[in-house]
């Protein structure tokens, strides 16, 4: 029987197996940031042990950083302390750090790929659930807790139970205005926010093949939002072209050797998955969420469903649905299109890459931001920020009345000052619409950068298809 892509990579990273227990699983690269690493380093100090492979660790501060005046000391004392702790830990343990002043700093899941650290066939972890992003390269990447961060720092290994495998195939061509974000929001609306629990997902089919690497990262990023441990897409020419020439990509003869290995990375024809889903790309329209988990999404022209429409049958399910409606102050049957909003956030490790800002520029070009909207446009990294200026996108975006801020996680989880006020509505390109995610009481609606941009222009929820010729 053939092997899945996941198993091919997994098998190569098993150091040993414990009978009726997990595998000792080798991790090629660990990414770290300031929020989930301090207690892991404290653990190493307590045991008096070093970091096993400091050159297989990549660090950058992102969650707490301000998105304005980054050259000034961080105002919030706790945030400042957390970032300073990361700096000290990296110094003490010999880890390369892309600190706030460094030209490579940014959201860890934007930085790793753009530097060519994330590559096909690798295993990667980070104390962050959206580590799934890096699966876009045809690799196994997933989020871990701080105890596991410590395990990997100490030994470069994890105790890992092999997950089940799921394949999600989307074939066909998408309609005008439909982006990677819409595809993945559509998929999650079908599988529900828990549909992937216990699985690792491979995304297959022409709809994913046709995506750029940025788009594939958006998709894999959100695989965690269906409960999956992670997602991956078999590497192809698009992947190889993206990696080639980047800072840490293999060069010369090493490149040829690596490429030969990467070309073997696909699921065999007769590989068997524990679960399969198939969708038609033509059914997908620009998506938006109306509730408080990412599975509560609909096509932007659709009406908010009832609990029964989405298959909620038990009393508890209906209660959970009603709770979400109450939090959002929405009612089933209402239309999302045209609803008033207060904030627009373009950013996060889901949608803050250069292509996302190109999408925004295309929509806002020659138009003006609506007065009633506060918009935060936050690049994913210093390199993305630089490119926004170099490509002339900043000029277009600023002429439309927007401002480009400095890189960081920002309003994705509102650990810095970028908080949406209680009760306010925000159309956000991030990945989570949980209660209070963008600030206590904030109401989040997830969408693509195109939809966010169109909404910022219209001053109310708008269909990006109406803004594209």
């Amino acid at each position: 029987m053939g092997k899945t892509l996941f198993d091919k990579i997994y098998d190569k990273h098993v150091v040993s197996s414990i009978p009726d227990g997990p595998d000792v699983f080798y991790i090629d690269v660990q990414y770290i940031h300031e929020v989930t690493s301090p207690q892991a380093f404290a653990g190493l100090r307590k045991r008096g042990i070093p970091v096993a492979r400091p050159n297989q660790v990549c660090a950058t501060p992102d969650h707490n950083v301000p998105t304005e005046n980054q050259h000034l000391p961080i105002q919030n004392e706790l945030s400042r302390h957390q970032v300073a702790t990361l700096v000290k830990n990296c110094q003490d343990f010999g880890i390369d750090l892309y600190g706030l002043e460094h030209p490579f700093q940014g959201i860890v899941h934007v930085v790793g790929p753009e530097l060519g650290i994330s590559k096909p066939g690798m295993t990667m972890v980070c104390g962050d659930s959206h580590t799934s992003t890096h699966g876009a390269f045809g690799s196994i990447a997933f989020g871990v807790g701080t105890s596991e961060v410590e395990m990997v720092l100490a030994t470069q290994c994890l105790m890992q139970q092999r997950p089940k495998k799921m394949r999600i195939t989307v074939d066909g061509t998408v309609r005008k205005g439909v982006t990677a974000k819409d595809i993945v929001l559509y998929v999650i609306s079908k599988t529900t926010a828990a549909g992937g629990t216990g699985y690792f997902v491979e995304f297959a089919g022409s709809a994913f093949r046709d995506l750029s690497m940025e788009g594939r990262m958006t998709v894999c990023n959100m695989s965690i939002e269906m409960g999956a441990r992670g997602g991956l897409i078999a590497p192809d020419q698009t992947t190889f072209d993206y990696v080639k020439g980047r800072e840490f990509a293999p060069k010369g003869a090493d490149w040829d050797k690596a490429l030969a290995e990467w070309e073997e990375l696909y699921s065999d024809e007769d590989a068997v998955f524990d679960k399969e889903y198939n969708f038609d790309a033509a059914d997908i329209e620009p998506m938006i969420t109306y509730g408080t988990n990412p599975g509560m999404g609909i096509g932007i022209t659709q009406k908010i469903p009832t609990a029964a429409d989405i298959g909620s049958t038990t009393v508890k399910e209906v209660e959970s649905f009603d709770k979400a409606m109450e939090y959002m102050d929405f009612k089933p049957g209402e239309v999302m299109l045209g609803k008033p909003i207060d904030y627009v956030f373009v950013g996060s490790c889901t949608n803050a890459r250069i292509e996302d800002f190109r999408e925004v520029a295309e929509i806002v070009k020659g138009r003006q931001k609506a007065e009633n909207v506060t918009a935060w446009l936050v690049p994913g990294s210093k390199q993305v920020e630089k490119q926004i200026y170099e490509e002339g996108l900043a000029e277009i975006i600023e002429a439309a009345g927007f401002k480009i801020r400095q890189p960081g996680c920002s309003a994705c989880l509102a650990m810095n000052d970028d908080k949406v006020p209680a009760g306010a509505y925000c159309v956000s390109t991030s990945n989570r619409n949980f209660e209070g995610r963008q600030g206590p009481g904030a109401r989040t609606m997830l969408a693509s950068p195109s939809t966010a941009a169109a909404t910022a222009i219209a001053g109310k929820i708008a269909n990006p298809s109406d803004f594209i010729d």
Binding site: V144, G145, S147, A193, L413
Partner: protein
């Protein structure tokens, strides 16, 4: 880590489904650099209103519920990988969380902190909620050794799965890092092998 012993305790019920880690411990409490004190902020925004007054309709602030077992709606712990969620639950004093489904990362994090996650059938979960509803002090027994949970009032039992290694670790208070550190030779051999 403390050894896990059989527990007989009343339980605190939270029936909401898809409880994400942002609710268990909101992001603004993640700025600490130590593992201590997260229990105070467990379910912070569901427990306290804007003026920091307890919301007594929420089970954690409702004096009629007590015990070190938390019973929660399905897909508990989804969302962020923050282990702070598991620390908050452990620090608050819960030793067991019972649900019909757990998010994967949360599940690992809980077990790594000595908090046993018990996955029961949806029917058993419904029975547990009903039992607590009819008697707030009803006792629930969690026996890891024999892998079952029991509603003491009715005798209704549900067996649960846990892999042998995890079970040994919990029962004996072993820690994964000690195990991995002892594998150093094998790990280095693996690295050398891969080079060639």
């Amino acid at each position: 880590m403390e050894k896990f012993k059989t527990i007989i305790s009343p339980a605190v019920p939270i029936t909401t489904e898809n409880i994400d880690t942002d609710q268990i411990i909101p992001a603004r409490f993640l700025k600490a650099t130590t593992r201590d004190g997260f229990g105070d902020n467990l379910f912070r925004d569901w427990r306290f209103n804007k003026n920091n007054e307890p919301i007594t309709s929420f089970p954690l602030e409702n004096p009629k519920y007590s015990g070190n077992v938390l019973v929660a709606g399905k897909n508990f712990g989804c969302g962020s990988s923050r282990e702070h969620a598991a620390w908050a639950i452990a620090d608050y004093g819960f030793k067991v969380v019972i649900s019909s489904e757990f998010a994967d990362i949360f599940n690992n994090n809980a077990l790594n902190n000595g908090v046993l996650t018990v996955t029961v059938t949806p029917e058993f979960l419904a029975s547990a909620f009903a039992a607590i509803d009819s008697d707030n002090n009803t006792q629930i027994k969690v026996d890891l050794e024999n892998q079952f949970v029991e509603l003491m009032a009715t005798g209704e039992k549900n067996e649960f799965q846990i892999n042998g290694y995890r079970k040994e670790c919990l029962l004996n208070g072993y820690d994964n890092i000690d195990y991995l550190l002892a594998q150093k030779g094998k790990i280095e051999a693996y690295e050398t092998n891969r080079q060639s």
